[in-house]
């Protein structure tokens, strides 16, 4: 119940923005990769592998492909990473008070997160490579399919908490005797699967299906740009996990809760990743609009009815 706050400069550069997000993102990428590897009967990477990849990529030459706009090409990775990191400021990272908070910051945080995906899509469309173009189309198609159900799923807790402010929702969920995961199971399910779609994890990895379109939207990226996009995705992983844990797993009151709850979610995601074959993009869209969106709306309707009674 005791949430501490942090001074602004530290909030921007060290915690919860900046360094903390980088390191935590790399750490979670390693946990994810290692778990998936172990579940698939592989050995998996060592703990410093994501960091080593990052350093290696940063040291490599960045090649701007002919026919693409160089400004956009350089700018997009930075923008994507910056947006993902900015959204961390409104979240109770590591169980601390959000660095900044205002009414409706939930919507801002969510859209900042989506900027990363849009950045990916634009980056893919910016290069003349055919794999990138298809990857970009798929990325944006997927964005439009999961975004609405995911948003609706996060609105459920916001409605019962009576606030669109993440910090207030965090307080509210902490005070509940039952986790919202139990009281709104459908919403939790949709949020969880939406998380996987957002992070383009298997089985929703059609936008970067290597056996079809090499690396999808990022096919032409190398070196620094690729490193930043990857880092952006890692940051997004941490933020999205925090978001779902705040809303559905009884809030985050202290660093220990943060660690346990987000790691627990990550383990669950890793298991889900190993269970399925990749969905085609049309199957992904169908799944989201036919089932995901309907479930989320049903959840909202149930909430309204209960509120009225």
């Amino acid at each position: 119940m005791n949430n501490w706050s942090v001074p602004p400069l530290i909030a921007l550069f060290l915690f919860p923005g900046g360094l903390f997000l980088f390191l935590w993102g790399l750490f979670y990428e390693w946990v994810d990769r290692k778990l998936v590897a172990r579940l698939q009967n592989r050995v998996g990477p060592r703990w410093y592998q994501p960091l080593a990849d990052l350093v290696k990529l940063l040291a490599k030459e960045e090649i701007v492909p002919e026919g693409s706009d160089p400004t956009l090409f350089y700018l997009l990775p930075v923008l994507a990473l910056a947006c993902a990191m900015t959204s961390a400021l409104y979240l109770p990272m590591a169980g601390f008070m959000p660095a900044y908070s205002f009414r409706g910051d939930l919507i801002v945080a969510l859209y900042l997160l989506s900027m990363l995906t849009i950045g990916l899509g634009v980056a893919g469309a910016n290069t003349p490579n055919r794999f990138s173009l298809i990857g970009a189309t798929r990325t944006l198609t997927q964005l439009f399919s999961y975004e609405a159900p995911f948003l609706l799923a996060l609105l459920g807790p916001a409605i019962v908490a009576g606030s669109w402010r993440i910090s207030e929702i965090n307080f509210y969920t902490q005070q509940q005797p039952l986790w919202i995961m139990v009281t709104q199971p459908i919403g939790f399910l949709v949020a969880l699967v939406g998380l996987m779609g957002k992070l383009e994890l298997p089985p929703f990895d059609a936008p970067e299906a290597e056996t079809e379109i090499v690396a999808g939207a990022l096919t032409e990226y190398s070196g620094r740009g690729y490193a930043l996009f990857r880092l952006g995705k890692n940051v997004e992983l941490v933020i999205a996990l925090t978001l779902v844990a705040t809303f559905y797993l009884g809030g985050l009151a202290n660093p220990l809760q943060f660690l346990v709850k987000t790691l627990g979610l990550l383990v669950f995601l890793a298991v889900l990743q190993t269970l399925f074959a990749r969905l085609r993009i049309d199957q992904t869209v169908g799944l989201w609009w036919r089932i995901g969106a309907l479930l989320a709306i049903a959840q909202l309707l149930i909430l309204f009815v209960i509120n009225l009674v």
């Binding site: 698939q40 009967n41 298809i134 089985p203 379109i213 399925f276 074959a277 085609r280 199957q283």
Partner: protein, 393 residues
């Protein structure tokens, strides 16, 4: 197509989906494939020409290296052909061991394919597990022959590896283990919802199409074509231990999975039966150094389908001409037809569905166009290659 400009997605010669070089061009309209073409020949190695420069014994090793996965059947086909020319028949025990290794090779090849096909569909867990269990049969093959891939079991007139009691027990134990695992994979492939969504009804080839395109092997059998050289024209030990023909009427990717997995069970059954009734006797028969003049064909059932060898001898120590036709080449035509109308995302799985093997089908082909025929001699071909690369560079 509404727009005039075609959007062509090139796959290969270097692409993550391909483990060997081949070039495919898919014309797409959105995600739908409207046209497909294939270009092969990146790994042409001139093996047939090379065979004419070497003695029959050396050729046996050369042909084994046409394909790394089905090396044994190539050597078997060549040995059978040469033996027929020489009028020599390998002893029964040698024939039994040829069939035994061929079936073990089929297990390793089909399990390899299972993993690759699952990977193309983004189901890496199945890929990793099936390859882990493939190690069982790889280890057995190594214990048996000393090698994991190019076993070099065959000699002209017999085989050089024998099965003793302890090896027999080892193989039988391995088969028991494998049978359980394969049953599990059959369950996964036929019940996993996400996987079924990628295979059921995808890449369907009707029986008429399969006949028309001359599909062979499991690809044809999955479309209901009862075609298996082991059944139609038994060679080696298959007349004594008959093989049950496995077909499926559905013709889609799922059917190809089911047919191949059921063939694994059949291979295990055949291996057990051969080991139970292993005839006693010599391993080799005497072969003459010079093979009498004449020509013959020999057909064997490779894991991918019918493998065809033509051997012509002029009475010397070296063959006059050897022609190899591998099953992958027969199946390409069907893929390119079936691909049209599917989603781009299905392409890797449809390509993998015929279990393609690139390096084994890259050999000289006579180009037959509508109006002209073009033959190239070895010298012409060499000159053509030099000129071609001068232009490119």
């Amino acid at each position: 197509m509404t727009s005039e400009r075609k959007f062509i997605v090139p796959i290969g010669p270097q692409h993550p989906a391909l483990k060997e070089p081949g070039h495919f061009e898919f014309t797409v309209d959105g995600e739908i494939v409207t046209d497909a073409s294939v270009r092969l020949g990146y790994v042409h190695r001139g093996i047939e020409k090379g065979a004419e420069e070497r003695s029959y014994i050396q050729d046996l090793y050369l042909f084994e290296r046409i394909c790394g996965i089905c090396s044994h059947v190539h050597a078997t086909a060549f040995a059978l052909g040469v033996e027929r020319l020489a009028g020599v028949e390998a002893p029964l025990r040698a024939q039994a061991i040829r069939s035994l290794v061929a079936e073990m090779e089929r297990i390793h090849s089909h399990m390899l394919w299972l993993g690759v096909a699952a990977h193309e569909g983004g189901f890496d867990t199945l890929f990793m597990y099936s390859w882990r269990d493939r190690e069982i049969v790889m280890d057995l093959l190594e214990a048996f022959t000393g090698n994991r891939v190019n076993y070099s079991v065959n000699l002209l007139g017999g085989v050089k590896c024998d099965v003793n009691e302890s090896l027999r027990d080892q193989i039988l134990r391995g088969m028991d283990q494998l049978e359980k695992r394969i049953q599990h994979y059959l369950n996964v492939v036929t019940t996993d919802r996400t996987f079924l969504a990628r295979t059921e009804g995808v890449g369907r080839m009707t029986r008429e199409q399969a006949d028309l395109f001359g599909a062979v092997g499991p690809t044809a059998r999955a479309s209901g074509v009862p075609r298996d050289v082991r059944v139609d024209a038994p060679y080696a030990y298959y007349s004594t231990v008959p093989v049950r023909l496995i077909t499926d009427e559905r013709g889609d990717l799922l059917a190809r999975f089911v047919v191949r997995i059921n063939e694994l069970f059949e291979a295990i059954r055949v291996i057990r039966e051969i080991l139970d009734h292993l005839p006693e006797g010599e391993l080799t028969a005497r072969m003459p150094r010079r093979i009498p003049a004449g020509e013959t064909i020999s057909r064997v059932e490779a894991p991918r389908g019918e493998l065809f060898y033509f051997v012509k001898s002029n009475g010397g120590e070296k063959p006059e001409r050897v022609k190899v036709r591998t099953p992958s080449l027969c199946n390409w035509g069907s893929v390119m037809q079936v691909a049209v109308g599917h989603k781009l995302a299905d392409m890797p799985m449809i390509l993998a569905g015929i279990d393609p093997c690139f390096s084994c089908n890259d050999r000289m082909v006579q180009l037959k166009r509508k109006d002209s025929q073009q033959w190239m001699s070895w010298e012409d071909l060499r000159q053509y290659g030099i000129e071609y690369y001068k232009k490119v560079l």
